[in-house]
């Protein structure tokens, strides 16, 4: 049962402790929150300048926002950042426009090794399966050894025609492919171009020339999700030379955080449309800004917590209760309400895992939901007077309560004792705010004779430490 108390008290720390006296987001607490966000973005390879502009605009937007009850400002900032990321990277139209006269032409371009050839096959498969269309491929990478063989092999696998001409130049192949597409009445024509450096003028000229002569209906930049800070330079230059319509982000099946998605959108305005998530031809998906925001931040849990808190906690309830805590009038009835409120948010263990500090403590502790049932049952069996003033509970009342709920008298005693302990913590909490809270907790809950069983005491202390 003591686990319940400990975790509840920690939950209260989240719900009440950190927001005391900070009902609005201020320059200061926003900066604190953004510090971690900034590092997360940089770890995710979002371009430094993009990060700078982004955090500045978020902080301007957030100043003066009301602090949501139940989360601390840092967590709230993370949520704001998340939503902002999402809206920056979206909305995305993940359809491929295929209407019009004659064969639609789609051209892929990008740096060496970014995954153009594979993407060419995947896109063709995606279109063949999701549209009334019969794609045809064009192998216009005439430089890299065996690039043509590679696309031809993919074409055979997919049972799609591939137009190529060995020893020829890219433009000739493309012109031929367009004629073939028209003759065979196939569309779209998807062109695989050779990888090139954005600073290789000759090669970029070639691409510009291809665009001019072939007039593709759509051009996609194929970019590697593992790209670092330089993503903006190549994306900008390709955009300047051939102005593409959208981006295909490849290699998202590994553990790359994919900050390039944000960087590229920020500097070119061009959205990611599709993502590649594996080597096989079917590992191709539409882009979801929401998931990408989670991935870039690497803080999905906090976001979920804030969302849950927003949904589950009724503002008035919280305010009334906070008032009571402040005046030390928090009683067992309030406690019961609070239990309900917390349980509304979902299974206890899952809920706890969202709270960074508590989540750690829960590791390895077998949390039993039935503890909560028992506490509720015991309180339910009390009279309103007993709930408001637990000190009136004597031996006789205790036995009646125990009988009423089917638990032992000792368990009723235990509950009362722990409730007193908890109130003590609350008093400290409401008087001193967050810092005191942190100090108060270990004393109350891990000192010998405190409510924590010995084995757990140690464990939870260690687990609570984050590095």
């Amino acid at each position: 049962m003591s686990i319940v108390f400990e975790t509840l008290t920690n939950t209260l720390e989240g719900f009440f402790g950190k927001i005391r006296g900070k009902p609005r987001l201020t320059e200061k607490n926003i900066q604190d929150g953004l510090r971690e966000v900034r590092l997360a973005l940089l770890e995710a390879d979002v371009n430094f300048k993009v990060v700078k502009d982004f955090t500045r605009s978020v902080s301007e937007k957030a100043v003066g926002d009301e602090v949501i009850r139940g989360v601390n400002p840092a967590e709230q900032i993370t949520k704001i950042v998340h939503d902002e990321l999402k809206s920056l990277m979206g909305p995305v139209d993940t359809t491929v426009p295929l209407g019009g006269e004659g064969p639609v032409v789609i051209m892929l371009a990008g740096l060496q090794g970014s995954g153009k050839t594979t993407t060419c096959g995947k896109l063709a498969k995606h279109i063949a399966e999701n549209y009334e269309a019969e794609p045809i491929l064009c192998a216009a990478d005439v430089r890299r050894p065996a690039a043509i063989d590679q696309l031809e092999t993919l074409g055979r696998q997919l049972e799609l025609p591939v137009i190529s001409e060995r020893g020829s130049d890219a433009l000739t192949v493309c012109l031929k492919a367009r004629m073939q597409a028209a003759r065979q009445n196939r569309s779209p024509l998807i062109i695989d171009t050779g990888g090139r450096l954005h600073i290789d003028d000759q090669m970029m000229d070639e691409l510009a020339e291809l665009k001019k002569r072939i007039k593709p209906d759509q051009i996609y930049l194929v970019a590697d999700a593992r790209t670092g800070q330089d993503a903006v330079n190549s994306a900008k230059e390709f955009n300047r030379r051939i102005e593409y319509d959208a981006v295909v982000l490849t290699n998202l099946d590994g553990d790359a955080r994919g900050g390039a998605a944000l960087s590229i959108k920020a500097v070119t305005g061009k959205p990611v449309k599709f993502v590649g998530v594996g080597e096989k031809m079917d590992k191709f998906e539409p882009f979801y800004p929401d998931r990408m925001a989670d991935r870039i931040l690497g803080m999905g849990d906090v976001v979920t917590l804030v969302e849950k808190a927003e949904q589950a906690i009724e503002r008035e309830d919280v305010e009334a209760m906070e008032e009571k805590m402040r005046k030390a009038r928090f009683d067992l009835e309030d406690f019961r309400k609070q239990l309900k409120m917390i349980r509304n948010m979902g299974p206890m263990k899952e809920l706890m895992s969202y709270i960074p500090f508590v989540g750690n403590k829960m590791d390895g502790v077998d949390f039993d939901e039935s503890d909560l049932d028992r506490i509720e049952a015991i309180i339910n069996s009390m009279t309103p007077e007993e709930r408001a003033r637990p000190q009136v509970i004597n031996a006789g009342r205790r036995n009646r309560i125990a009988k009423g709920c089917g638990h032992r008298g000792a368990e009723v005693n235990m509950l009362l004792k722990q409730f007193r302990q908890m109130k003590k913590v609350m008093k400290k909490l409401t008087r001193g705010g967050m810092e005191d809270m942190a100090n108060a907790l270990p004393d109350q809950f891990t000192a010998p004779g405190g409510p924590m069983p010995k084995g757990l005491r140690k464990k939870s202390k260690k687990k609570g430490k984050k590095n």
């Binding site: 590092l39 940089l42 770890e43 995710a44 390879d45 371009n47 430094f48 300048k49 700078k52 740096l111 060496q112 090794g113 970014s114 995954g115 050839t117 430089r143 890299r144 050894p145 065996a146 690039a147 043509i148 063989d149 590679q150 696309l151 031809e152 092999t153 993919l154 696998q157 060995r166 020893g167 130049d169 433009l171 450096l197 954005h198 600073i199 290789d200 000759q202 090669m203 000229d205 070639e206 590697d224 593992r226 790209t227 670092g228 800070q229 330089d230 993503a231 330079n233 190549s234 290699n251 099946d253 590994g254 553990d255 790359a256 955080r257 900050g259 390039a260 594996g278 080597e279």
Partner: protein, 333 residues
């Protein structure tokens, strides 16, 4: 190969990747040609880094918070990564506080020295056995530049008069074998391919051939793979085991090819590949772009595998030995 033309073609004035021509500079790392190549490859890198800095780092200029912030920015833009940037910046702060660095003009030399000191302990030469064959295993994520690097290394060895055998152990990607075959033809190396889809069995055959035919060098190409996929990574360990069963001290070098464009994910790549393969070195490919490859500094805090070569183009001769001093100098010159 005839399909791609036997000589370096100039169609419509566009450069073509092609087999080596007679004008290729020698592979001697100390030669001007190669160094010039490295320098020109790094020129953009260095323009990028110093371009922004020079304006704020004039000798005599005061070293204030603003300046330090700009330095921080430049370090970040080089992909050095948060941990290492923070470390370098705090060293800068300390140096300022201790009066070691009073003037903005001293910042670049200071940074250069710190980064060099970090990289200098690396042993960047290939460790090849006295007794041939030397066996090199090359691995890395998809598209990082493995096959091209292998072609370039074959070129170097051939130029040193060594006989080279290539093993086409990428049995997965479409036309991977054909790609390596073309490189073999360009460089005059021999190649082992077989019908098997099992890369370990190709490695087995290649070891047999290298040993029985007395090749000086065997280089094994492997399929690109995502470092987080357990089964694909174990496949690499298996190749390594097959090799060392045939020759206990082989592979003598196990290299991971890293794309210089890679950001912080490079760290995770190196850690995982090292876990499965005990890497002896890295190759930093595609350093001829504008990416600065700073991830190799960032990495050193966590995984200490030396960079042995840098890739600076798509031509067979576009491979230079990694020299930390020159590398850092070229970055900040």
């Amino acid at each position: 190969m005839r399909l791609f033309g036997n000589k370096k073609k100039e169609k419509n004035g566009y450069s073509q990747i092609g087999p080596p021509t007679g004008t290729v500079s020698s592979a001697d790392p100390n030669e001007n040609g190669m160094l010039g190549r490295l320098r020109s490859g790094l020129r953009k890198t260095h323009d990028k880094i110093t371009g922004g800095l020079q304006s704020v780092l004039k000798p005599g200029a005061r070293l204030d918070e603003d300046t330090l912030e700009q330095i921080e920015e430049q370090l970040y833009l080089a992909d050095i990564g948060p941990r290492t940037v923070e470390r370098i910046c705090s060293q800068l702060h300390e140096a300022c506080r201790d009066g070691e660095l009073a003037d903005a003009g001293g910042v670049i030399p200071f940074l250069k020295e710190r980064i060099k000191a970090d990289l200098r302990p690396w042993e960047t030469g290939l460790k090849l056995p006295a007794q041939p064959p030397a066996v090199l295993l090359v691995a890395g994520v998809n598209g990082s530049g493995k096959t091209t690097t292998i072609g370039k290394m074959a070129m170097r060895f051939q130029k040193e008069g060594k006989s080279v055998l290539l093993a086409a152990c990428d049995t997965f990607r479409a036309a991977a074998g054909e790609q390596l075959e073309i490189w073999a033809e360009w460089t005059g190396a021999d190649i082992v391919k077989n019908e098997s889809a099992d890369p370990a069995s190709v490695a087995f055959d290649a070891m047999d051939k290298a040993l029985s035919r007395n090749y000086d060098v065997l280089i094994i190409d492997t399929a690109g793979r995502v470092h987080t996929r357990e089964n694909l990574m174990s496949e690499l360990s298996k190749i390594q085991r097959v090799v060392s069963k045939k020759l206990p001290e082989a592979p003598h070098e196990t290299l991971m090819v890293l794309d210089a464009n890679t950001g912080q994910n490079g760290l995770s790549q190196a850690v995982r590949f090292n876990e499965y393969l005990e890497l002896t070195g890295l190759v930093l490919a595609k350093l001829d772009g504008t990416a600065r490859g700073g991830i190799v500094f960032g990495m050193r805090d966590q995984i200490d595998v030396p960079v042995k070569f840098v890739g600076i183009g798509q031509q067979p001769e576009d491979l230079a030995p990694f020299d930390p001093d020159k590398f850092v100098d070229a970055m900040f010159e």
